[in-house]
Structure formats: C-alpha cells, structure tokens
Symmetry: C2
Subunit: 355 residues, 2 copies
C-alpha cells in the first residue's frame, strides 16, 4: 500500500474508487457505463440531484443556497465570480495570502477593481493576515480558506458585513463551520471531494443581481441554476465520483467526524515536526493548515535523502511546491491516520540516523 | 448486451472502459489510481503528451498546429473562440445550420459582430446551406461539421480564403479530410473520442494574434499552449479515457477505417429507412449525417409503440431530440455494425406488423 500525500489530485477512499470502477463497466446494473448514458436520462439526473442535495445537507446550508457542479476548476471561478458579480467600475476586496488568492485578485482586475485589503506577502505567506479593514463599497471579500501551497488556513472569519466569497478548494468538507455566513463558496473537487474535472459552486441566490455586462451562457451562474446544473453536458464521471465521495463522508460521520480526524492527523504531524530539531516550519502556529503541512529539513543537504527515504517507503507526494521547496504533507479526508503515523515514524527514524 | 444509440454521452469501446476501470483502481501498476496522481507527475504528463500527439497523428496535422485538452464543452468554446479571436468592432461569419451553430453565433455576438452568412432555418435545418458569400472582412467562418440534433453533415468545405473554424463535436475522428485546411477545430469528447468532461481544441498557431481585449488566463489559448495544456489541473480521468479511445482508433485502422465503418453503418440504416414506407426522413439526401440519422414514423400514433419496441429489445437512445421529435439513431465510432443491423431488422419487423 502506498501512502499518498499528494496535494491534489490526491488520495481517494478505496471504496469510492471501487464503486467508480464498477460504474464505468456497468452503472447500477443497467448494462451501460456511467460514461455512456445521456446526462438528461433518468439514470444520470438523480446522480446530479443527489450530489447537489448532499452538499447542502453536509454543510447544513439553508434553502436560499444553490449548488452547481461546473467545469474549469477554481481557475475558471477566478474569472467567473467577478464576471457575474462585479459590474463595470465596481470593486471587490481580496485577501492575498498565497499563490491562489493572488491569482484570483489578478483575474478580478480584468472586470473591476480588485482591492488587496490584506496580504501576508511580507513574510512569504507564512501566516494569515487577519488585521484589515474592508470598505463597504466592496461588492464582496474574497479569501482562500486554506492555502494549499503555503500551508496556512483560516480558523475564524473576518467580522464584516461585506459578503464573503471563499475558495475552499483544499479544505471543503474537512470541518464544521456556519457555511451560511458565506455568499459564495467554490472548490475544485480533486482534494477533499473527488477527482479532478468538476468544481462545486455554492451560491446564495440573492447574491446574484442583474449587472450591465453581458455574460456568456456558460459563465452565467443564473443560467446554470435554471438548468439544474445541466445546462450543457456535465463531466459525468467526475460528478459521479464526487457523489460517491459525498456519500462516503456522510456515512463516515459527516463534517464533525472529518474534522475530528483532521485534527488528530495534523496534530500528530505538527507535534512530530516540533519535537524533531532537524525539521522546521515557518508557518505561524495559529494558522497552521490541517490539510497541508509545509515544512523544511534544516540541513538542505539532507533534503534529497529525506525524499528518497520517503519514496523507498512507499510514500508519494511529499515534495514541496515548486516555488516554496522543502516538504509538504497533505492530509485530506481520505488519507488514513496510518499514513500520518507512518511518515511520523519515518521522520523520527530519519532524525535519529541523521540528527 | 444493450444497443446504445445515444447521441452523447454515448457508446464507448468495451476495451476502453475495461482499461479505464482498471486505471481507476491501479494505474499502470503503480499502486495508485489515475485519479490520485499529480497532473505534473511523471505518471500523468506522458498521458497528456501522448493524447496531444495522437490527435495530430490521426488527423495528419502539420507542425504548426497545437492540440489542447480543455474543460467546459463546446459551449465554452462558443465564447472562448470569439473572446480570443474577435477584437472589439470586428466580425466573424457564422453558418446557422442547427441548434448548436445558432448558439455559437449568439455567444459570438457578445464579443463582436456575428454575421449569419448562411442559414437553413427556412426548412427547419433539414439541409446544409452551402450557397453563400463570405466577405473577407470576417476574421473567420464558423460552421458545425455535423449537426447532432438535425442529422445533417458537411461533406465538402466552403471555398473561401477566410479561416475556417469548425465545431466537430459529433463527427471528429469519423472520417478522413484535409484537416490542415481548418484554422481551429474543437470538439467535446463525449461522442467520438471518449467521455464527457474534456474538449479538444486544435488551433493553427499563427491564427492566434494579439488583440486588445484582456483575456482571463483560463480562457487564453496561448497560455494553455505555453503550459502544454497543463495550466491548471486537467480533468485527468476524461483525458485518460480520450487517450485510450485515440489508441483504439489508431489500432483499429485510423480515420480511414472509421470512415469505412461509418459509411457502412449509415448506408445500411438510410437504405432501410428509404425502403420502408412507414418511415420518412426530411433531411436532404446529400446532407444526411453518417453520425446521427434523424427520421420519423409517419403515423404519429405508432411513435411510442416503436420506442417501446426498441426498449424491449435492449435498444437505448432512439428518441429524437426534444425540439425535433421523432427518432434519432446515433452511429458513432464505437457503435458496432451489429447494433445497426439489429435496429434495421427491428424496423423491418415493426413495419411488417404495423405497415
């Protein structure tokens, strides 16, 4: 068995993969693959409907939210959000706490003014800048709830009346929270909720107002809502894997249980890092991500040796992001505690031999 | 065994589904699912590279073409093409020969002038209007090479110096043609080249010129080309299934063989329709699609009975498109000749009993 610490695409529950493989061969015993049936057929429509409903149920969202399964990843949302929400001459506030939030602000600037109201760039994005003011002229405040690359995470929400828009690509469904406080939430599926190729968008209906800019159909949230997320052919396999993953989350105990496991796994890993002097993390303690632990081996000469040792022990995806370097261990929902125990044990052993 | 005449998502080769299911469980014996590995890993990059290269090889495209695997379906291309190619105040020519071409023109009108230079709307889109002039002020001419809904297909190209852009969603890889005559070709994968969730875009490099409009990253063809179609996380499973399908097409004999089969299947079906007085097709004979045969049962009272008879004989996807009605039989690459023989035999039998 491989220990899969990939940052995304990443580990999926084995039973989800088994069910998905079966559905590729024969979906629910109908004699056709899930990939071979019409998206408006009585076979696929219930898949889409159940997936949309499960998102609302797991997040305990009120009736005034709509759930869409779209294509294009979070990167498409970087443009789709301001295209739908920022009219010409309007502005939005952006928190610049990492690579992805920074890209989101850049795309928004093509549609209006993107005010960067907070940044942690001064310290290489190793913390979440929570001290800032947001003018009420801003149509929304955009933040990245978990920074996959830098290993930081938001644990409280800014106190503001400005509607909050959150990129939850790397921590959706990993914890309880009052999600009704958000006006729009989006996430690529390939970390905590399935395979790459589908993006969930959760939007409060009254957040979508008429704007002057003409919006192409495929980009128009309201058209997707009207069509029940079946405006054009959806990525059927990816939607089905998302459904299987959502069912798995529910069966395992929902977000409460995902959070418990995530605290358990990340606490174990961070305690191990803190206890071994050969490793360091620069991330502010209170902002340490439970999803992605970013850390370094102090003696750079040992970096490759450590990565090789991981590889030799069937551990994959441990190398840090290309612009950050070091080590990154991702601990999404589907990662077993045993995998974190295994790398902690390897780290201790490595420290003993190389310390 | 089911006979799958779905118009898309549609039938896939059994060996492709078997291989895809295996890769979902364990990709190439690496102990991880294709859905669990990084898209920039040495496991996935060769998948993308081989798929891009196979498209060029099968279509015999020259080196000045780039192949991208993107998200959003043909509907996203309806906006992405004019966004990249039509600068403010510029115009493009559109052939309105069906539902999809008409939608493409509508989206283009958000970015410039969409001149509808030919339309077959006067006869309910039952033919291809090939008599038209295209002013050279148009940046490109857009046509839909096969109209899935209406059952018409282009068998010769317009004689023009204006660059041709074609939506080949429903007939790509089904015939030989000099594809180097096109400046841009696009197609959703879910008919002739795989599962829903990925769209191939083939573009002649010098067709992409600087324009004044700022283009969001995810929409910018040139950024996708620079990134080798890995700008953001691609829909890994759908790309892999496309690769498996492309390999299958090559192994079976390439486009020459796909065309031979397609002529054989469609000739058999149209001959059967023509020979049975209870059925009619309104599509002009010279424009009859080899991919989608759209026809009617003359006595409307028999329509449901016919559909029920098909269902009882394990034939699915025979019902016509919602706005057209009647019968539609789709005969994509992966549909076996046996399936067409089966429905022809059923049609004869039905005519005998109800004629």
């Amino acid at each position: 068995m491989k220990h899969n610490f990939n940052s995304g695409p990443s580990v999926l529950p084995k039973e989800v993969l088994d069910q998905a493989a079966q559905a590729l061969l024969d979906f629910n015993g109908i004699g056709l693959s899930i990939a071979e049936v019409g998206h408006r057929s009585p076979w696929f429509v219930p898949v889409m409907e159940e997936a949309r409903a499960l998102v609302k149920e797991l997040m305990q969202l009120r009736d005034d939210y709509e759930v869409l399964f779209l294509q294009g990843g979070a990167t498409a949302q970087f443009m789709q959000i301001p295209m739908n929400l920022l009219d010409n001459g309007q502005s939005a506030a952006y928190c610049d706490d990492g690579v992805w939030g920074s890209k989101a602000a850049k795309e928004a600037s093509l549609f209006g003014t993107a005010n960067v109201v907070a940044s942690s760039k001064d310290k290489n994005y190793t913390y979440i800048n929570k001290q800032f003011n947001i003018g009420t002229e801003n149509k929304y405040l955009h933040l990245t709830s978990n920074n996959t690359v830098e290993g930081t995470q938001w644990f409280s929400l800014p106190d503001t009346t400005v509607p909050i828009v959150a990129d939850m690509s790397s921590d959706i469904f990993s914890r309880e929270m009052d999600f009704n406080k958000f006006s729009l939430i989006y996430a690529g599926a390939q970390k905590n909720m399935g395979a790459a190729g589908v993006t969930v968008v959760i939007v409060k209906k009254d957040f979508l107002q008429n704007i002057q800019r003409p919006i192409p159909s495929i980009m128009d949230y309201r058209k997707h809502i009207e069509a029940g997320s079946l405006m054009n052919t959806p990525p059927v396999i990816a939607v089905y894997i998302a459904l299987l993953t959502l069912r798995w989350i529910k069966k395992e105990g929902g977000l409460k249980e995902m959070e418990r496991r995530s605290i358990q796994k990340s606490t174990l890993l961070y305690n191990t890092i803190d206890s071994l002097p050969i490793f360091s993390t620069y991330v502010a303690k209170e902002d340490r991500s439970r999803m992605n632990a970013v850390y370094f081996i102090n003696d750079e000469a040992l970096q490759n040796k450590f990565l090789e040792t991981c590889k030799a022990n069937d551990m994959v995806g441990v190398k840090g992001y290309r612009t950050v370097g070091g080590i990154r261990v991702s601990m999404y929902n589907a990662l077993a505690l045993e995998s974190v125990e295994a790398i902690c044990s390897l780290m201790k052993d490595f420290a003993n031999k190389n310390g």
